[in-house]
């Protein structure tokens, strides 16, 4: 009897499971459409004329030739200057990432291997600083960078260099924290062996330790990379909204401000702005997701 009952339960469960999996299937498709809809809207309205959009916001493109016209118009627009913005964004992101990663790894390694009161204090400072929101330092940062730049005769404002330096300051705390946790797990014996073999301290770091840190680099590069690439406020404050150097978010915001609701051109500008990161995502999806998740869990 009991076994019959059990079979019954299993049978019921099977039927229920089938129903659930159909529901899951439908839920996924609906959600996917909902999530992709904004991108679809961007694409469709990039290929319409402004008159068409004003006439009816919901509609399909009548002539895909308009898409080419709109892209050409936005591409050649001197306010937007997409190619220049792309170049500035790439320079700033790549330089910042390289400097933040290497410098933070060096610091984390010294702080782990040097067990003194000073290194404990420094580490505590870096960790504590992670709580400081950008808003509390952003106003003084501008006046201070101006004073410091005048004093050093270095252009800290409206330059790539000043912004990269600021990104080092804002990004290093979390990056040191992440590296710190990982360096602790590297056995000291490996470094001692290199030491005995006559490797210099710097050599030990660059030849032995740095290659071992490779898996953490994914996390650090993805977390900092997405933040810096999409950041708006820090570039706005340090570069200005109409300076010589402009990142993509600044260019998009400037372009939208200068065009009074020409939605087709605005949609093209957002399309161009999204394209680089989406292309990168197609090729490095696994690493990007892994980096973001591990960054959150740490």
């Amino acid at each position: 009897m009991a076994s019959y009952n059990q079979l019954d339960v299993v049978g019921q469960n099977k039927a229920r499971q089938r129903r659930l999996s159909i529901l899951a299937e439908i839920g996924c498709i609906l959600l996917f459409i909902l999530f992709m809809l904004p991108f679809f809207i961007v694409l469709m309205n990039s290929a319409r004329t402004n008159a068409e959009i004003i006439n009816s916001a919901v509609g399909m493109p009548t002539n895909w030739g308009n898409f080419v016209d709109n892209v050409v118009a936005v591409w050649n627009n001197p306010t937007f200057n997409f190619l220049k913005a792309l170049k500035d964004s790439v320079i700033i992101t790549v330089l910042s990432l390289a400097i933040i990663s290497i410098c933070s790894a060096m610091t984390a390694w010294v702080l782990v291997r040097n067990k003194t009161k000073w290194s404990a204090f420094l580490f505590l400072m870096f960790v504590a600083a992670m709580v400081i929101p950008f808003q509390v330092v952003m106003f003084p940062l501008i006046t201070w960078f101006k004073t410091l730049g005048d004093f050093l005769h270095l252009p800290l404002l409206r330059s790539h260099g000043g912004l990269v330096f600021a990104y080092l300051g804002f990004g290093e705390s979390m990056t040191i924290f992440i590296f710190h946790g990982f360096v602790k797990s590297i056995p000291l014996e490996i470094e001692e062996a290199a030491d005995i073999d006559g490797c210099s301290r710097a050599g030990t770091f660059f030849r032995i330790v740095l290659p071992l840190l490779q898996p953490v680099f994914v996390t650090v590069l993805v977390l900092n990379g997405l933040w810096i690439w999409n950041d708006y406020l820090l570039p706005l404050l340090l570069l200005g909204s109409n300076g010589e150097v402009r990142t993509i978010p600044l260019a998009v915001q400037g372009f939208i401000g200068s065009f009074v609701k020409q939605w087709n051109l605005i949609m093209v500008s957002t399309l161009l702005a999204m394209l680089p990161i989406i292309i990168l995502y197609i090729f490095a999806q696994k690493y990007i997701v892994q980096g973001m998740v591990e960054g959150a869990v740490k």
Binding site: A24, P38, P133, T143, N230, V252, M274
Partner: protein, 305 residues
């Protein structure tokens, strides 16, 4: 000979280690510490951000901002937005995580797709959603005869916070979903299967096994969404820029102006640099309290385990 090289080795080691600390420590002092101290100082002055005149006025700014309707309103709206957003993002993310860890066909495509909005900056997606709310939805509402949609949801003070929550959930849920997915995948399938054989229905298994085992992921996601909602700026700027106008304490205020935007506008739009800085200090204190709670929650968890 041997001894000498040992000593020079130690000195080399010290110099290298010192040099390794220099870049980060210099940047830390120049970018964080000094501006932070100057910032605290500004909050006790009457500086407008434009003129050179700066007098120390003590706690006047702090007293002013706590009686200023715009700031109090921004504070309350930020709390409202944060609470709604934390719930919306985490509920949607959890449901999506359940969906994409089931045996659904094409689950990898769904995972990848749900994550995409998270790659795009707030300025860009705020602009896209402004178009959707200002043009697309009203057009849809009119053609379908839905009264609630016929007017823009972001120019209505009653619906604007909901609109921001929608956009932020769309942007952020895919990321939080990935954290939940990682957590679910860490749970042994055998436990779930054993419960299934014992006759536990799917929802019972989710409630009694999955959710308790995911406690850690919930805490992480909760604090992540909490701080991110509280600090929200880009989407706020690009989607609504604070508008529309609403009445609060018998004064017109910006209905959707969150704290970060209010701080920025106080300093630059209304040229009250010192007041903006005082608001930023309050902002900082709130975030310190949140972090302390987070640390103590994590500590108490460690004890349990």
């Amino acid at each position: 000979m041997e001894k000498q090289s040992f000593f020079s080795g130690r000195r080399e080691r010290k110099i290298t280690e010192f040099l390794f600390l220099v870049p980060t420590v210099v940047a830390f002092i120049m970018v964080i510490i000094i501006p932070f101290i100057i910032g605290i100082y500004y909050s006790f002055t009457d500086w407008d951000g434009v003129n050179a005149a700066k007098n120390v006025v003590g706690l006047v700014n702090y007293k002013t901002i706590f009686t200023e309707p715009a700031f109090l309103h921004a504070f309350l709206v930020t709390l409202e937005f944060t609470v709604l957003n934390v719930i919306a993002v985490n509920v949607v993310a959890f449901l999506m995580a359940l969906l994409v860890t089931s045996q659904v066909k094409g689950r990898n495509l769904y995972r990848a797709g749900f994550f995409v909005p998270n790659l795009i900056g707030g300025i860009v997606l705020g602009s896209i959603w402004q178009f959707i709310f200002a043009s697309i939805l009203p057009a849809v509402g009119k053609s379908l005869g839905i009264a609630g949609l016929s007017a823009s949801l972001i120019t209505n003070a009653k619906t604007v916070v909901g609109a921001m929550v929608t956009v932020n959930t769309w942007q952020y849920a895919g990321y939080i979903m990935m954290i939940y997915v990682a957590s679910i995948q860490g749970i042994s399938q055998q436990v779930m299967e054993a419960a299934s054989v014992d006759g536990a229905t799917y929802w019972v298994r989710v409630r009694k096994i999955l959710i308790p085992l995911m406690a850690n992921a919930f805490t992480i996601s909760l604090f992540l969404t909490l701080t991110n909602s509280f600090k929200m700026y880009d989407v706020n700027l690009a989607l609504t820029n604070g508008g529309p106008v609403a009445m609060f304490m018998k004064t017109p205020v910006q209905a959707s102006e969150l704290l970060a935007l209010n701080i920025y506008n106080t300093a630059f739009k209304y040229s009250k640099m010192a007041q903006g800085q005082a608001k930023a200090v309050i902002f900082f204190i709130v975030l310190v309290v949140v972090s302390l709670i987070q640390v103590s929650v994590n500590k108490s968890k460690e004890v349990e385990m």
